[in-house]
């Protein structure tokens, strides 16, 4: 417990930081609500003919949007940005010799940000959506268990991807901010906005081989009852595979990076 204390402190600080700029909070809430409604209007307009498209009806799609919003706040991490800035400023050498793990601190900070984001942003939005749109019931209460498991795996996949891209800045810094490309790829190919089951078959097949769909689409799909038990278990297995693979890659890359810093001075 004692060893965890510095990390918990970082977690608290970063949760608190979110509250500092109230203008940001109000405008952030406003914009998130606006974007949610734009999406709702889009799907209502698309489904104006009624019925089921690609196996999903309007009500399931609206639930999909609200749960996706939940995941977006849960998945807010900035390990890549933090690493990048630390490398730019040259603080990273100091960070590596601190008596605590720098990645542990970033993880604690990200969890702190996610928790406060869920409280400050998602909670009001959830209440608003429940009243103005619909209450996002899961297809069956028991599905909440695999949903949360899969959401946590999804978080780990994203966080490790972020840490990996952030660490790659040791070599790629001069080429600009690759985190940006990563963010775009995630938002497009994870089904965060538009589920990829609307995409042509061949694109779906490619995306199923990438980690992105296992971050947003899998947990939300479980929630709205799109997958059977077999598919859920298979999906969780694939997630675990990605977590392990990314973790190993991350270990290799971060070892190399530390060596680079300690030998060449960054």
């Amino acid at each position: 417990m004692k060893r965890l204390q510095p990390y918990l402190y970082y977690l608290k600080i970063s949760a608190q930081k979110k509250l500092t700029y109230r203008f940001d909070i109000w405008s952030g809430l406003f914009s998130a609500a606006l974007l949610l409604f734009i999406e709702v209007f889009l799907w209502r307009s698309l489904y104006s003919g009624g019925g089921t498209v690609s196996g999903v009806n309007l009500s399931e799609m609206l639930t999909y949007l609200i749960v996706s919003l939940f995941l977006r706040y849960l998945f807010s991490y900035s390990v890549d940005e933090n690493l990048r800035h630390s490398i730019i400023r040259g603080d990273i050498a100091l960070d590596f010799i601190k008596p605590v793990s720098i990645y542990g601190i970033y993880l604690a900070q990200d969890i702190g940000t996610a928790l406060s984001g869920l409280c400050i942003f998602f909670l009001p939005l959830f209440l608003l959506a429940s009243v103005a749109i619909q209450f996002p019931f899961p297809a069956a209460p028991v599905l909440l268990i695999p949903f949360f498991v899969s959401a946590i795996f999804g978080y780990l996949i994203l966080w490790l991807l972020g840490a990996l891209v952030g660490t790659l800045n040791f070599w790629l810094l001069k080429f600009g901010n690759f985190g940006m490309v990563q963010q775009i790829l995630i938002m497009l190919f994870s089904g965060a906005y538009v589920p990829i089951w609307f995409f042509p078959e061949w694109i779906q097949r490619i995306l199923n081989c990438l980690p992105f769909v296992y971050t947003y689409q899998l947990p939300i799909g479980i929630y709205i009852g799109r997958y059977g038990t077999g598919e859920i278990l298979w999906g969780l297995g694939v997630q675990l595979f990605w977590v392990v693979l990314l973790f190993v890659l991350f270990q290799i890359v971060s070892r190399r990076a530390q060596k680079k810093v300690l030998v060449q001075g960054g």
């Binding site: 608290k12 949760a15 608190q16 509250l19 500092t20 109230r22 909070i25």
Partner: protein, 326 residues
């Protein structure tokens, strides 16, 4: 010729600052309510500066030095009071005033970070509409004083702090301003570059009669350069005089340190106090106006066998610290 370049009267600048509450609870409350309070940075100050003066504008951090300078440049608007720089108000006739101004902020470069130094000079030449011949002449002169040609083709971000400061000083002089504001120009510089900066200030003051206002924490800058010092504390002027006069006023004493061959004799002289007596060493403190040092020395040496002696001036740093504290 005693031409007034700057005239400041009854100047006040206040800021509104929001108070932040501590802790998570405080942050939450702050989402809905915020307290504001008024902070007075500059508090009813008045002074005049004549052409050709080098004025040291000093004071502890947060005393309001930079705020005053920014108001004189037209960057900030005074809450009340008036400023006239080169016959214009910097607020109403900003463009006329800044045409006569050169400004260097020691902590913030005005050069184009990404581009070579010369590129910044070219841009400034166009901004201030400097003629080609005048531009070349100034550059030559700046190269002579500051040696800028040695690094004029390097990008500013690759320059050392000292080179960058020299570049900034040259940049401020390109349009031959009558008046130069230097805000901590020697901050963080090594001894040699500090020297170059001081030489630069002396030279342009002597050559062009440029009026210079200098803020600094380095008292060597002051004692070497400034004919006059204005000391600011908590927004108020507490001293405005020559360095000598301030020293005389605050600390009119000098010390005479004497080493005798044997135990020092007892002395009872008018205007002289014994500060300490330790073994064969005697330290006397005397009033510089009442007791001439030469007379005191001859008095003392006639009373005992003096092996060594020196006159010690009061330490400026101690004096200034004393003024800040009071």
């Amino acid at each position: 010729m005693n031409q007034t370049v700057i005239s400041v009267s009854d100047l006040v600048k206040t800021y509104q600052v929001t108070k932040k509450r501590p802790g998570l609870r405080g942050s939450l409350v702050g989402l809905f309510r915020r307290e504001r309070e008024t902070f007075t940075a500059v508090d009813h100050i008045s002074f005049q500066v004549s052409r050709g003066e080098i004025v040291g504008y000093i004071g502890p951090n947060g005393a309001g030095k930079s705020t005053t300078i920014k108001m004189m440049c037209g960057i900030l608007t005074p809450t009340s009071g008036s400023i006239e720089v080169c016959g214009h108000s910097p607020q109403q006739d900003r463009k006329q005033v800044v045409q006569h101004l050169g400004v260097v902020f020691g902590q913030r470069s005005q050069l184009q970070w990404d581009l070579r130094l010369g590129e910044s000079f070219e841009l400034l030449k166009r901004i201030y509409c400097v003629e080609d011949s005048a531009f070349r002449a100034t550059l030559d002169r700046m190269d002579r004083i500051l040696g800028i040609r040695a690094f004029i083709d390097q990008p500013v971000r690759q320059l050392s702090l000292g080179q960058r400061m020299r570049g900034d000083l040259a940049a401020a002089m390109l349009h031959s301003p009558q008046l130069l504001f230097l805000d901590e120009p020697t901050i963080g510089l090594d001894v040699e570059v500090k020297h170059a900066v001081r030489d630069f200030i002396k030279e342009i003051n002597a050559e062009f009669e440029t009026t210079i206002i200098l803020t600094t924490h380095d008292l060597a800058d002051i004692s070497e350069l400034c004919s006059r010092i204005i000391i600011l504390s908590e927004g108020k002027i507490i001293e405005d005089d020559s360095l000598d006069a301030i020293i005389r006023k605050v600390s009119p004493y000098r010390r005479l340190v004497l080493d005798f061959a044997s135990t020092p004799p007892e002395l009872h002289l008018d205007g002289v106090e014994t500060e300490s007596r330790e073994g064969n060493r005697l330290i006397l403190r005397f009033d510089r106006d009442r007791v001439p040092a030469a007379k005191l020395i001859s008095d003392v040496t006639s009373r005992g066998a003096v092996r060594d002696l020196r006159v010690v001036e009061p330490d400026i740093e101690d004096i200034i610290r004393g003024i800040y504290r009071s």
